[in-house]
Amino acid sequence: MLAPSDGTIRIEGLDIASSRAQALERTNFAAVYAPLPGNLTVYQNLRVFGLLYGVNDLPARIGELLRQLDLEAFRNTRCGVLSSGEQTRVGLAKALLNRPHLLLLDEPTASLDPATARDIRAKIRAFAAEGGSGVLWTSHNMYEVEEVCDRVLFVSHGKILIEGDPKSLPREHGKATLEELFIATAREPLTIKEA
């Protein structure tokens, strides 16, 4: 949603600077630091955001997502009183409303207990497995990245330092795990880049 400081951002060929609305119709996002308004219920929030994204047959889509994300019991509960795990699921339901072609997730499992985090990962993988959508997932949890992602990019100060398959990448750089590679990259980015 922010304007790039340099270059262009294209989503399915649409330049976000000149075709912002059309580009954003194809995307959605969820982040722990951007919870939905706590003074609206789960259903009310999903209805408002469903209208913003122009979702067809919105009541049915909301019902479907409430079932998929185990949120039916909280349909009429204000989001502000939900636990962090429940709020993450509501945020994910909002992010999936318009069946985005590009789903942006910023640390979707941060601050969740391991069981809830695993559950959330499974839901996102199920969405990705439906096909037709890409998921861009930012995380500092390398075990999670290794488990979920097909491709990983290490980025520092706007530059891509390393990219590749998270399962083979550590070996290629002489490290035992992705976490070791991450730590080494964070400490000595230029050395790793040249290796």
Binding site: M1, L2, A3, R20, A21, Q22, L24, E25, T27, N28, F29, A31, Y33, A34, P35, L36, P37, G38, N39, L40, T41, Q44, R47, V48, F49, L51, L52, Y53, G54, K94
Partner: protein, 267 residues
């Protein structure tokens, strides 16, 4: 511009109002308080002055029109503040929502909330103090239009200021109508003011409304050119406020302010 996105903004405000008496009550409570207070003051002035001036039509009418203007402005700012308080900008502006659709939603919300205040004000003032707004005749429609457009313009300008300067700036927004009222000649003719204040008054659309209202109460006919001037001025302010909001939004998107809004980095 997609109407469904504008309606989404209105729907959010409707949900908030529906579930919260604390939000519904102020729509008409202050209007009712003003009617009672100024109704009795004007009734007392009518009794003791012996001047023949109808203070109910001049003062109470002016107070209520000014209240209408404030309701319109606050209708926009209150709807905007709901997004400030719930830190919702990131969620909203990551959707295809445009600034025109967003501001359009705030304006529609303000129309609905200020209409509630207007209806309550008309019923109470006529029932309790026999003030008939119809006594102002056809110009009343122009009065309401000028005050409405200028109220929206000031509301949009206030939203842009809070977007630019941060949530703490909210407290500078509330006194704006009180600061403008001495210049707008709400309670007295603009000619009463010193020359420099008259200059400011001529730049304020409400001044044309209250001058016209007093002329009608005194038995004269309102100047169409003057009222048209107030109307044009209000539209110009609205366009300027809209452009200022868009510029402020673009700055917030370019600098990343919108994602770190609550940090009040400008402070």
């Amino acid at each position: 511009m997609a109407i469904h996105r504008t309606l989404a903004i209105v729907l959010r405000q409707a949900y908030l109002l529906r579930g919260s008496p604390a939000r519904v009550l102020p729509l008409f409570a202050w209007v009712a308080v003003d009617i009672v207070l100024w109704g009795f003051i004007t009734r007392y002035l009518n009794a003791v002055s012996g001047s023949g001036i109808n203070f109910v039509a001049t003062l109470l009418g002016a107070v209520l029109l000014w209240d209408f203007f404030m309701r319109v402005m606050q209708g926009v700012t209150m709807a905007f503040f709901e997004d400030v308080w719930s830190r919702n900008f990131l969620n909203f502006f990551a959707t295809p929502l445009s600034t025109a659709e967003y501001v359009g939603g705030l304006v529609l919300t303000s129309i609905a909330t200020s209409a509630v205040g207007l209806v309550v004000m008309v019923i109470l003032a006529s029932a309790a103090f026999h003030l008939s707004f119809l006594a102002y005749g056809l110009p009343l429609a122009a009065f309401l239009l000028v005050l409405f457009v200028f109220g929206i313009a000031l509301g949009v300008f206030a939203c842009a200021m809070v977007l630019r300067l941060g949530p703490a700036f909210e407290w500078f927004i509330w006194p704006i109508p009180a600061i403008l009222s001495p210049f707008a000649g709400v309670f007295y003719p603009v000619a009463t003011l010193p020359v420099w204040m008259q200059g400011v008054a001529h730049a304020l659309p409400p001044a044309y409304v209250f001058e016209g209202m007093r002329t009608i109460v005194a038995g004269g006919s309102v100047s169409v050119a003057s009222l048209l001037g107030g109307c044009v001025l209000a539209v110009v302010y609205l366009l300027l406020a809209g452009a200022f909001f868009v510029r402020t939004y673009r700055h917030a998107v370019r600098t990343g302010l919108i994602a770190r809004y609550s940090a009040e980095t400008l402070n």
